[in-house]
Amino acid sequence: MSQSPSTAERVDRAVGRVLAGESTGAATAAAGLAATDRGIVEVAALLRSTLPAPPVGPRFEARLGARLSGALPTRDAVGWALRHPGRLIVTGAVGSAVGVGVTAFAVWRNARRVPSPAHRLLHR
């Protein structure tokens, strides 16, 4: 058994019809509202015709558009770092360890290198 719609639901249906361009009389009747509720539907029609979207300043529109397309990579990197501070620390630590390791290996390898005859002649 289906429940009959509440008044609020009927008003919402009537508002939907008014927003789609129907007359208040037709919307009131189609939504199953009583004639006494027609005043509410008339207010809805008045709101539809008198509430314009305020104009957006063209300079603001251009500035924000440029900001959205221009500031993206920096924002992403900063955002990632802020969202994952632990990962940032691990990334830094791993990066440092790799750097130290590579340097130590280079020093060790250089120390063990057997000098060539030309090198020995030059540094005699």
Binding site: D12, E42, V43, R67, L68
Partner: protein, 185 residues
């Protein structure tokens, strides 16, 4: 009272543009152009100041761009998701003001009156009366009216923006319209 996102009956019309933006952030421009006016309108009617509305609109789009990867087609539409972000930014702005929104909506452009000068005057007068009546509504009722009539969101979408059930939004809308009818009588 908060609600879980409800499954929509119709597909999200913004889904292709959202997927494109998730793959390539440059494609976010499509969504920006599609929703700039509406997000700005929502902010303006709640804040009553062009400068503040621009600030909150800017924060909303930057936050949406930063979070676009986290949007999932799991109930709430993209536009409800976007307006939810704007709603949160708006709440922050109102909190930082430390007072209830003092809306002065006189700066809104008058609606088009067509060719008839008398008709244009009547419309301008109606628009002024409506704006003054809107200023008298509570913030919550005004949000419902603006999201429904300026931004064209459904009761279900408004519920997702404001964290209320669809039924609660219908009741709020009904009460707001009744209050406006009294104020405009």
């Amino acid at each position: 009272m908060t609600t879980q996102p409800q499954r929509r009956d119709t597909p999200d019309p913004d889904l292709d543009a959202v997927r494109a933006a998730q793959a390539d952030r440059a494609a976010f421009g499509i969504l920006y152009r599609r929703y700039l006016d509406r997000v700005y309108g929502y902010c303006f009617y709640l804040l009553g100041d062009h400068h503040d509305a621009e600030d909150v609109t800017e924060r909303s789009f930057l936050a949406a761009l930063g979070a676009i990867d986290r949007f999932r087609d799991e109930g709430a539409s993209f536009r409800a998701w976007l307006f939810r972000i704007a709603h949160n930014e708006l709440a922050n702005a109102l909190r930082s003001r430390g007072r209830r929104a003092t809306t002065r909506l006189d700066a809104v452009a008058e609606p088009e009156g067509g060719e008839d000068p008398a008709g244009a005057l009547d419309r301008a007068d109606d628009a002024r009366r409506v704006r003054h009546a809107l200023e008298a509504l509570s913030e919550e009722r005004r949000q419902v009216i603006v999201l429904r009539f300026v931004d064209g969101l459904s009761a279900a979408e408004i519920g997702e923006v404001l964290g209320r059930s669809e039924g609660a939004i219908r009741v709020l809308q009904h009460r707001a319209l009744r209050e406006l009818a009294t104020l405009l009588a």
